[in-house]
Amino acid sequence: MMHESAIFWLRVATVLYSIGLIHAILVLVKRKTVLFRYAQPAFTAAALFHFVSIVETTMAVGRLPVDNFFEAVSLCALLISGAYLILFWRYHFASLSLFIFPLVFLMSQLGAMETPVASWPNSGVRDAWLFAHVATVLLGYVGLLVTALASIFYLVQERQLKSKRPERFFDRLPPLATLDNLITNSMTFGFVFITIGVIAGSAWAFIESGTSWIADPKIAISLFTWVFCLLMVFLRASAGLRGRKAALMAITVLGCSALTWAAHVGLRSLILR
């Protein structure tokens, strides 16, 4: 079990990490990197608090805290942030932050959920919260669906241009650049809403059922989908992922989302309860 002050430091770290998440979203939506000036030091400070938290727990239990999922995920997040900080210091690999910041934030958020802190003030708040989670995730799925469709059209249009025998169908597809814009925008939209949805969902589950939910496979699928989505967004923003690979990736992410959705069908009974 984590020590009480260790949990506190981890929560402080999570709050600081969240600045990194906001930075990543700002870069994707507004193409602005102004927040990086603050997000980078905040991330360093967060890593320090994170380190303090783990050291405290280690001292309290007398060994490295990897007893359960929460402790393991927290330690893993610290290792990732440490690796990132070294890469940043050595190679100034700033674009990696787009991937690392959101990932570490979510991992530390999960890690900080070991001890339940609150209960629902009333069932109205509980239901509204759950509804917000479902609504944001569904909006995110819409974004991913559009991304996948636009990626397929991109692929078709690309093939047509490459074949050098443009057919009549070709005239009716939008230009590659237009499709490319649509992909970028819908992907960003999807990612932002799924991120909000995942944060809202994990917080809801945490308050609803303490720590038992984490072993649920549907949570694992959700988190996997989100990480995959993050990877896709990152690859596109940093390496300009386009064409066949991008289309395959978009379709895979959409497939994962469909699985996640299927796994969550059980939630309906919770809402109706």
Binding site: K162, R165, P166, F170, A177, S238, G243
Partner: protein, 421 residues
């Protein structure tokens, strides 16, 4: 009223003849005035482009517009023997169909090209401005505009590029959408690359880099497009900055290899690049087209696109001909209905004159009448002439659009003693 189109076009006359008869914009008003001043010619429009010189005329039935145009052409100091063999003369329905085909760009050298409609509109505007086109020509020519519009919206006649340069622009649009603010690089400043660059510049490309083995030629072309010169030894360093590359170099080896393009693509984070290779032998390694996000078209590929478009236009043209045919028939119907209008009017006037005359003659014998009685007489007599007129009028209207409509008109005019039109 007689409607004719007389003239010659690229289909009938060689360019030496066309250029002699072509009218300069300055002399057109004088020409129009001299045409409409001729006896029997009521309205005129002159369409003079590098591919055709045509005169549309609305004249009285008694006039001979073919002769008038012959005299008119002869008065422009061109030997009649030189143009007479090439002149065509369309009358009535044929003239209308011809005018519709011309406006719809079906009679153009490059079928479907859009300029002709603009030239047509300008010719009509000029004729109107100088009072040479009013009622009749207005009806026919404004209809020709709508037919052209219908052809354009209902068929895909103008939707594909039929020149190599234009095909390059169309393909660039398929890739980039708008070409505004795109950058291009020209490697090898030849005539063909200049033509392609001009088309692209006209469509919004703003940044143009030119590189050439001899720098003077590069400078010359860069000045032409407000572009910049890149040293021939150094063009690879700016390759990743441009979206479109045009090569037409005489170099015996590839000026761009797969590896070089791959590096540029990595640098531009895979944003697509369009490579147009108009050099013979080819300047770009064909394997470049295998790279994702690189689109390579050589001169044969572009010609292939053009050929398919031309083939496609031929098929579409058949569809367009059907529309023109249908519209021409409809126009003729309308004109014929218009033609019976004076006869109907004359008939009604004639009957009214008889009625009014008979009432005036009988009025004295009837003595004093009350207001009601006066009205009753009016009503009865009007009823009688309307009933009499009903048969002939509906017969006129029904037969107007038929082939023997003219006979019906003349018969009715004769029976009712309506005199000549």
């Amino acid at each position: 009223m007689k409607f004719t189109v007389t003239g010659l076009s690229h289909k009938t006359a060689p360019v030496e003849v066309r250029e002699r008869l072509a009218f300069d914009a300055e002399v057109l008003p004088v020409a129009l005035r001299s045409l409409t001043a001729r006896p029997g010619l009521l309205e005129a429009m002159i369409l003079s482009t590098c591919n055709r010189v045509e005169i549309s005329l609305a004249s009285e039935e008694s006039a001979d517009p073919e002769l008038a145009v012959d005299e008119f052409f002869s008065s422009t100091n061109v030997d009649p023997a030189q143009f007479r063999p090439y002149v065509y003369h369309y009358i009535g329905a044929d003239a209308i169909r011809h005018l519709f085909r011309v406006a719809s760009s079906l009679d153009s050298m490059v079928v479907g090209e859009p300029q002709i409609l603009g030239q047509f509109k300008a010719a009509y505007a000029l004729a109107r401005e100088h009072g040479a086109a009013s009622g009749f020509l207005e009806t026919v020519i404004t209809r020709a505009f709508s037919v052209a519009k219908r052809v354009r919206t209902e068929t895909e006649i103008g939707s594909s590029a039929v020149s190599v340069s234009f095909a390059a622009v169309e393909l660039a649009r398929e890739i980039f959408g708008s070409l505004k603010d795109r950058a291009i690089m020209i490697i090898g400043a030849g005539k063909m690359s200049e033509a392609a660059a001009r088309h692209l510049a006209r469509n919004g490309v703003t940044r143009i880099l030119v590189t050439n083995r001899t720098e003077e030629r590069a400078l010359e072309m860069a000045r032409l497009f407000n572009g910049a010169v890149v040293p021939y030894t150094d063009y690879l360093t700016s390759l990743h900055e441009v979206d479109i590359v045009i090569t037409s170099s005489g170099a015996p080896h590839y000026v761009l290899t797969r590896e070089q393009v791959k590096r540029a693509l990595d640098k531009r984070r895979n944003r697509p690049v369009f490579l147009i290779d108009i050099g013979v032998p080819r300047n770009i390694e064909p394997a470049v087209n295998q790279l994702e996000n690189a689109f390579l078209y050589d001169i044969d590929d572009l010609r292939g696109v053009v050929e398919r478009n031309v083939e496609n236009r031929k098929q579409v043209a058949l569809e367009a001909e059907r529309i023109v045919e249908e519209e021409a028939a409809r126009m003729m119907e309308r004109l014929k209905i218009r033609a019976v209008a004076p006869t109907i009017l004359n008939l009604q006037e004639q009957l009214e004159t008889v009625r009014a005359g008979e009432i005036a003659r009988a009025r004295g014998r009837l003595g004093t009448l009350t207001k009601e009685q006066e009205e009753a007489i009016e009503q009865i007599t009007r009823g009688i002439i309307n009933k009499i007129a009903h048969g002939p009028i509906s017969e006129l209207r029904r037969n107007a659009a038929q082939a023997d409509g003219v006979h019906v008109i003349s018969t009715i005019r004769r029976i009712f003693r309506l005199g000549d039109e």
